[in-house]
Symmetry: C2
Subunit: 903 residues, 2 copies
């Protein structure tokens, strides 16, 4: 008989933390906490295998599940000294989902299950009538919503109607009898909506709830969340059934959440909130403003509500000790849920706490220094993409600012954008290239796609642990929550703050680090990276094998790249240099020239500018390698296209507009991506490549003399499909190098290599490597050609493709290992078979994507190159790839060779 059910409680459990895949995160941790002897309400977990069975068998639960649940339920009753459905001493349970990875709020939960018309009376008798009927009405509403699919607003209307009838304004105004009446009305509502009475049999209630939790694995919110967080559908969720404990049994009861370290800053201090006489949901919902756990926090927050430390010092001490035990046990910062029922502490949940990148860094570094974890563990623990948020700008302290409101500093970083009030609109505006701030009274799981699209999130309700705050931190987006002074009018699409009225589309700035909400756009500063950041990156640098370079076209980019730790420039796109107002004129003259002589004349004007560009770049990079790609885009990109533009340009150039139009038409292409570009330009007009090569070598001479650090430029020929193309262009480059060497009496060492960005080039890598000294994989174009997908046109179907699972991930974001990856592997093997010291790098967008960096490490590339802001991400990802590799037996030789090659 298959085992589907795992019990826990009373200092022991059938499961343990390592069984997350089977029991889900929550179930495994409840078991682990039980095993640690911590006060966990007894319960049991129905395994994820049951969920898998449920979906594999047209939503039918396994047959032998029932007796196992019954037995486990009896055991829970024994430990809680109560009995499920008992009229005198009824056991109430919670039924919660719990997947392998945390999916906060995505799936369903039912509390107080086991209440019915008879057990509620027992509860009223044993505890308190008001509490009992309040719990019962909550249970009816929650159960009806989750299991019977009756919308919340029906119940809210009943309650509001009743309150109006009686002239009540707050829930606390209602007495036990009022709640009894509400229960009656709720049951009538269920009868009319559900066409059946509210189920009175607790067992029937339980099975309904179990089915609903399994069912919620496939609701739209959960599917979206999984897609965004790359959680496979096949994992399934577990169901945790646990004896209820109540934080709302009076003033000696409470409920709260806590982090063992500050999840925003990483500071080693207990951080959390609680509410007296409340259920857990009350804290998270953000309806009542919670109290601080510690005195320190209370003082810092200038709160006049007592801390737990002050209010229940003994229990506080017990909790602190428990929290410490858990953190040491799990060697990670814990996110805890607890309830105090009539003076007794219960731990409801312990899991690794979500945290900001800043906090993650500090926690990892401090834990390594505390010897709780190794340095490698510290490095492995930081999600590389999370560094992104550390690199976001902050508000310039000297900038003029108009603060119109303040909320909670829910997720650090600052952002400006157009106001939008809907998640759908946020997504649509983002698709149009707009930056938006999503403004909501509060967010819900339905808003996730909009939060993803927004630069930042602003809510007028909710605390630091509200939905908006938790999700935004996870996303690394700035968020200000609970800015209660603001009024949002969804219908009017208006946000008001006293005298200020802002409409949708107006510009707003938020500072997620201070909680400020500001009018208009406020100028920002680059982030200063913390000491922990530098420490961790140093550790990472010591561990990685891959070099990390940056894609940088300007000295400013190059400076940023160096600041972020780049070890060179892997891609300098020279065409960007030609778009400056004074240069594009010469560029256009060249394109319009009738013959080589005319082109050379125009190029002669560009030469000094290019030389200056490269000199500055080389000086900035101080002898580090710089890969310069020759002109790549189709020439028509430099010409005007509309009639007005043509007329204007013609006049400013003193050219014939008809000729200009004719040339633009001549150069226009059906598929420019596959057109007259790349080395095809250099072959048709070798004088362009010659001018660029001359500029590079002259600049190398100048910069080398100036900095005293010899420049070794790497000249890169784009869009090679055949060896001959490369050889033709290389011959021109070599000739220029020689000419400059003679003229300057200074010999520059240089390399000539190529982008591998066409499938044919990847296949012919062996012969290309006979001539090319390095390859840089242009995986953007390689992905376009391997898939036959134009990146510019893919939006119409690529989203659908990822959504429907046709593609696991957007192949332009994370390299497609199976297809594009194989081409890269083939080229790597073939290239090195001919030239063992062939330098190999990647310069597509993938160079800054952690999964792709791991791939580059695995196949033995020498370096990755990415945008400057992504450099730390790539450094970290490269270190993690090396750590992951350590378990596998490295080929000593290959490693040594690779090390030698790296520069």
């Amino acid at each position: 008989m298959a085992k589907w059910v795992y019990s826990f409680g009373d200092g022991k459990a059938e499961g343990k933390a390592a069984m997350k895949a089977l029991l889900g995160g929550k179930g495994a941790n409840l078991a682990e906490m039980s095993n640690l002897g911590l006060p966990v309400p007894p319960g049991f977990t129905i395994s994820t295998e049951a969920c898998t069975h449920y979906y594999a068998n047209s939503k039918k639960l396994p047959r032998d599940l029932k007796p196992q649940v019954e037995a486990a339920l009896k055991k829970v009753g024994r430990l809680a000294a109560r009995s499920f459905g008992d009229r005198k001493n009824p056991l109430l349970v919670s039924v919660r989902s719990g997947a392998r990875a945390s999916m906060p709020g995505m799936m369903d939960t039912v509390l107080n299950l086991g209440l019915n018309d008879s057990t509620v009376e027992a509860l009223a008798k044993n505890v308190d009538a008001r509490f009992a009927f309040d719990s019962y009405r909550r249970f009816i509403q929650m159960y009806s919503n989750v299991v019977l699919d009756i919308d919340h607003h029906h119940f809210e209307e009943v309650l509001d109607g009743y309150k109006e009838e009686r002239g009540f304004s707050l829930d606390t105004d209602l007495s036990a009898d009022d709640w009894r009446e509400i229960v009656k009305r709720y049951k009538a509502l269920v009868q009319s909506e559900h066409h059946a009475p509210f189920p009175q049999d607790p067992h029937k209630q339980l099975w309904g709830a179990i089915g609903a939790v399994f069912g919620s694995w496939m609701n739209q919110r959960a599917i979206t969340y999984r897609r965004l967080h790359n959680i496979p559908e096949s994992w399934g969720t577990a169901v945790n059934v646990q004896a209820m404990v109540f934080g709302n049994m009076g003033e000696d009861s409470a409920t709260g959440v806590a982090f063992t370290r500050d999840p925003s800053t990483g500071e080693k201090t207990l951080y959390g909130e609680f509410l007296v006489n409340a259920q857990g949901e009350d804290v998270v919902a953000g309806i009542r403003t919670p109290q601080d756990l510690t005195e320190v926090a209370r003082k810092k927050a200038k709160s006049d509500k007592p801390s737990l430390e002050a209010l229940m010092p003994k229990l506080y001490k017990q909790f602190v000790k428990t929290a410490d035990t858990l953190e040491r046990h799990y060697t990670d910062m814990q996110d805890l849920e607890f309830t105090i029922e009539r003076g007794k502490l219960f731990m409801l949940q312990a899991r690794s706490g979500k945290r900001t990148a800043k906090a993650a860094l500090r926690i990892a570094v401090e834990m390594a220094k505390e010897r709780l974890i190794t340095r490698e563990e510290a490095v492995a623990r930081i999600e590389p993409m999370a560094l992104d948020q550390l690199l976001h700008p902050t508000l310039d302290p000297n900038a003029a600012r108009t603060v119109i409101a303040s909320g909670l500093p829910a997720s650090p970083g600052a952002a400006s954008g157009e106001i939008t009030f809907s998640a759908d609109e946020a997504e649509a505006m983002k698709a149009q290239g707009k930056k938006v701030i999503l403004v909501r009274i509060e967010t819900s799981p339905e808003d996730i796609h909009g939060m993803h699209a927004a630069e930042g999130i602003l809510t007028t309700r909710g605390g630091m642990t509200s939905h908006a705050a938790v999700v935004a931190r996870g996303m690394g987006k700035p968020c200000v929550s609970g800015a209660g002074a603001l009024r949002v009018d969804y219908a009017k699409r208006e946000l008001s703050a006293g005298p200020h009225k802002l409409k949708a589309g107006d510009i707003l700035t938020i500072d997620g680090s201070t909680g400020q909400v500001l009018l208009g756009r406020v100028s920002m500063l680059q982030p200063e990276l913390s000491g922990e950041f530098n420490t961790l990156m140093q550790w990472a640098d010591g561990m990685r094998r891959l070099g990390v370079r940056a894609n940088a076209d300007t000295p400013a980019d190059a400076k940023a790249a160096r600041n972020f730790g780049a070890e060179g420039i892997g891609l300098c796109r020279t065409e960007h240099m030609f778009f400056d107002a004074d240069r594009i004129l010469a560029m256009r003259e060249m394109i319009l020239a009738d013959d080589e002589k005319g082109r050379r004349a125009a190029l002669a004007k560009l030469l000094p500018m290019q030389r200056e560009d490269f000199t500055a770049l080389f000086e900035t990079m101080q002898g580090q390698p710089v890969t310069i790609r020759l002109l790549d885009p189709p020439l028509h990109e430099f010409l005007p296209h509309s009639d007005e533009e043509i007329a204007e340009v013609a006049q400013s150039m003193g050219a014939d507009p008809e000729k200009l139009r004719g040339r633009a038409q001549e150069l226009s292409e059906f598929n420019p991506m596959l057109g007259f570009r790349g080395c095809r330009l250099a072959i048709a007009y070798p004088e362009i490549a010659e001018m660029q090569a001359r500029a590079i070598f002259e600049a190398a001479v100048a910069a080398g003399k100036k900095t005293g650090k010899p420049v070794v430029p790497e000249v890169m020929v784009p869009l090679i499909a055949t060896k001959i193309e490369f050889d033709l262009v290389k011959a021109r480059i070599d000739a220029m190098a020689e000419a400059v060497a003679i003229e300057s009496r200074f010999k520059v060492n240089y390399q000539v290599g190529t982008m591998i960005e066409l499938p044919r080039a990847a296949l012919r890598a062996a012969e290309i490597a006979e001539s090319a000294e390095f390859f840089s994989y242009g995986t953007n174009d390689l992905t376009q050609t391997a898939f036959g997908i134009s990146r510019d046109d893919a939006a119409t179907f690529l989203g659908t493709y990822v959504e429907r699972g046709v593609l696991a991930k957007d192949p332009f974001v994370t390299i497609d290992r199976e297809g594009v990856g194989e081409l890269v592997q083939i080229a790597t093997e073939r290239g090195r078979s001919v030239r063992p010291d062939l330098k190999l790098g990647i310069c597509g967008e993938h160079g800054g994507d952690p999964a792709s960096v791991a791939f580059c490490h695995e196949i033995g590339l020498d370096y990755v190159s990415c945008s400057p802001f992504r450099v730390p991400i790539a450094r970290l990802a490269a270190a993690q790839a090396a750590i992951a590799d350590k378990g596998k037996k490295p080929k000593a030789k290959a490693k040594k060779r690779a090390k030698k090659r790296r520069r």
Copy 2:
């Protein structure tokens, strides 16, 4: 010491026919003829290795060449009983190029070499003064042109001036003294142009001529010719130095050319022309109208000039016997050059004769029947591309026609087009998609590119062996030569024929089979294929392993394909069916529909039309396999784009023009080739694929019932990059098949397969083959993506690429074996590794290209599919590939398996 020189003459030779690579075609055959004991003027051949050496050593001849030439020259003198430079009995020689492959007229020749002021006197004394000085002036002009680079027109001016002075009109008016004076003036001309006297030292003359012949290997004409005929530059040319014989030594002398069979029809009859008292050049130049060789030919031509048979019966008999010996020896139709010097026959050249495709077929089939060659040799001997000319239309005999002139039927087939008078213009107009007839007084090697571009060639001068005639036959282009009634005015760009004045751009028709020149466009008929054609194709079909299908979209295409021997349809492009006026409306409705319901309504209108299309197609193909590709092009191709078109379409559809414009904009793409097309459409709008699948299956039921031959449709999903795409679309197709089976109570057998046209699909072939039952390589798109070249945009650089040798051949014409070919091989291996009976075909343009067909055979595909007109070419190419394969040891198992797979 390397051997550079090979002597021949007097019934023996150092070379032989098999040494073509070393001695060139002409040299090898002169040696062979000598060995056969035929009367060949003695001489020697400087090998192609000397040419290679010449180009490998900055145009320096090998050092040890000189003594070898001197020795050979002496031997020639001995055999000819003359001595080079001798004042009494001087040896004169010809110096001719001779490459491995025939390159008629492309390289330089010098005749009468050895003449100088002193030897000319000996010649005058020994033979005749007029002949001697005429020969000398010819030599001076030829040598000065070829070696000293002095243009012909200078000499012609001198001659014309002299004739005017003296009131002469014809060359024959000039006496020995006149020629003596011309020689004087020519030498003065050389002195003034060349700044040195005309070289008098025969040895100096010889080395000058040898250098010039080697040099002419790299002249522009030769380079172009090699490119057009795929002759590698590395082959080089040999130089043949041979004792001169003279056909112009009086009435007992003659010179002529002959084919052992009729090169136009293939008839087994001696075919040729000669001139009494003339040099060989006179026959080819077409200045004097030559006489027929045989009486039969003379009568047929209604010529009143005596035939050789009548004029010199003994020599004629000797010549016939020699011709027969040569044909039997070489087992091929021979192209012969001969000279009769004072009653003695000399053979100057024997080589395989160029012939029309029709003649080639007849000769091959008849020689096989004569047991001269085997059937396999017969099949192997036909250049598949030459069949193209058999498939050209002929004039409809019932069509009204206005014949304005008649010329020689120089190359069969008829053609209409706009008149152009220049080769460059012909090329330019062709590039604009125009059909042109190139009209020239006579053509020269400089016109080759224009002849290539033209539909047909018309000359007003020249005979059946003129440049225009020979080249046109080689190209398979219709040609009328020597239409002397026509007057061409290049300056006015006018062609006149009596009262008819035609301008450039006017339409003209020529019939190369009758020699007629006709006004305007004349309607044409499909060719009836000869009995020999059918015999040879039957032989070929018995030898080939590859199946041959056609790409056909309509029943008319399908009918043509069957007539040409197609064994099925390899590609039916369904989109072409949607462009009919009544269908495009429904198509547009579908594209404009707001939702699936709207799309389904529009598709319902298309369903009966599609079903009808497919029914007709299936009926035509009579149970042969038909591969139908689902909708492939981007939807915007079906929408109007200009404002006027949009307005018009909107009105006719009753649609909002703004909506139409919006949708067109929405669907427009930067790179449509890589856009929203292929299976991406079927995934976004599965209802389109469903409609098409339904139409296919319903048609299969209907056609199967009607013809009694069960239809096995092959449904092809285009542009697959991943297995999941294929599976999603296949599921829809399978569902439709099931639905139609239930509705019709008739189960259709069918296959679902895919185009492999993206590099990723080729790499992932193993997993795709888990679901796909066949692959059809879409090598057009595969070439585009592997090379990153848009076929539509490639014109700007692809020509240059082929010209400069970056690409050996246009990869869209002949498959790139190294790159695209490897992808096809990878897909083939991986696909079959999973599904050994995977059906594999090719449906790109390459399916009709012989070199690509050979590739398909080699890698073991099951069939090729090409345009109907190319089917015979593919059948023949497939047979030739199988014959070529026979020498190699076949893997018995693989062959058996492949045979089983073929249908």
